[in-house]
């Protein structure tokens, strides 16, 4: 039996992959598109999205998935998609086996947090920046892909509903 949290994480991974796949079909110049009020360029947002998840998982497990994604080094969308997919598998394993109340250090300032907080932040972070990416697409006249949980359910064949 899959728990609802399991599906939240699976949706997160699926939505990342779907968005990255979609953006791989765009003309490269479109990756520099921006929209007011969002994080940055479309590419910068995608890179930050995956880099954030890479950091959260590293905080929880001590393991760096793929090579470190740095803002000053441009990666291909193929590379980002590959790392994102591996991170998705890792987050499921964390949710299945780790203690959500286990405390972990977050940075060098003695900040501590919990595994559960980091997983919740990972989901929030993903949804927030994917929305910024779809806002950039929509704001520049490109119909973004459907990446809601409803769309996830339909894509993997376990739900039929469509809507909001």
């Amino acid at each position: 039996m899959k728990t609802p949290l399991d599906h939240v994480l699976r949706h997160n991974t699926w939505a990342n992959g779907t968005l990255l796949d979609f953006c791989r079909t765009l003309e490269p110049a479109r990756l520099d598109d921006r929209a007011p009020g969002t994080y940055g360029s479309l590419y910068g947002t995608l890179q930050h999205l995956v880099a954030g998840e890479q950091w959260y998982v590293q905080l929880i497990t001590g393991e760096l998935i793929g090579t470190e994604i740095r803002r000053d080094k441009r990666r291909t969308l193929d590379e980002l998609a590959s790392i994102a997919a591996t991170l998705g598998v890792r987050t499921l394993a964390i949710a299945a086996s780790d203690d959500p109340d286990r405390t972990i250090p977050v940075d060098d300032d003695n900040d501590r947090s919990t595994v559960g907080t980091l997983l919740a932040q990972l989901v929030h972070h993903g949804n927030e920046h994917r929305t910024q990416a779809t806002t950039i697409l929509g704001g520049n006249g490109i119909q973004p892909p459907a990446i809601s949980a409803w769309a996830y359910g339909r894509a993997v064949g376990i739900s039929q509903h469509d809507g909001d």
Binding site: M1, K2, T3, P4, L5, D6, H7, V8, H11, A15, A35, P36, G37, T38, P100, P105, V106, D109, N110, D111, R112, S113, T114, G116, T117, A120, Q121, V123, H124, H125, N127, E128, H129, R130, T131, Q132, T134, T135, I136, L137, G138, G139, N140, S148, A149, W150, Y152, G153, I158, S159, Q160, H161, D164
Partner: protein, 170 residues
């Protein structure tokens, strides 16, 4: 999962509190590529939250339903947040949820609407996605118009609860 939903409710409530400082004109702001005005997006978030919870609980939270009504005021929207918060707690009151439980219908369905069967995980997962999605649109709208949006990440929520803190080294 309960914590995830509690963060969602907290974030929506925090955003509404923040938006109370805006003028009526600012509540009507929007940017291309988003759902609509700040006010309509907030109404959409909260009414949808209630819709997901009605489906999951199998009972109406109140009557009449809070539907997608155009341009209700911020006070009306805020009045519904406690209904959402209470329903989330009721949903998890008996322990963890079975995500595979089949929900055959929703009491909120209009007679002319098709009936959808779905497993419980679907509206729960959509609840989290939907809130984050539309709150991010509002934050984008505010930023685009030079208004600082509130920090709705899990970090400040966890700090409030003491689940994330600076350690006191001996």
């Amino acid at each position: 999962m309960l914590r995830q939903l509690r963060h969602d409710v907290w974030a929506t409530d925090t955003l509404i509190v923040h938006c109370r400082r805006l003028t009526a004109e600012q509540l009507q702001l929007s940017v291309p590529g988003t759902y609509g005005t700040v006010l309509r997006t907030l109404q959409h978030i909260v009414s949808s939250d209630e819709g997901y919870l009605v489906r999951l609980l199998g009972v109406l939270l109140h009557e009449p339903l809070f539907r997608h009504e155009p341009d209700v005021g911020l006070d009306i929207i805020a009045l519904h947040v406690p209904h959402v918060a209470d329903a989330v707690e009721r949903l998890f009151a008996s322990g963890d949820l079975d995500g595979d439980r089949l929900i055959r219908d929703t009491p909120a369905r209009r007679p002319d609407q098709p009936r959808f069967e779905m497993n419980a995980w679907a509206p729960l997962t959509q609840f989290v996605h939907h809130g984050n999605d539309h709150r991010a649109q509002i934050s984008t709208t505010l930023s685009a118009h030079g208004i600082e949006p509130p920090d709705l990440q899990v970090w400040p929520y966890a700090m409030e609860l003491g689940a994330s803190r600076e350690a006191k080294e001996a």
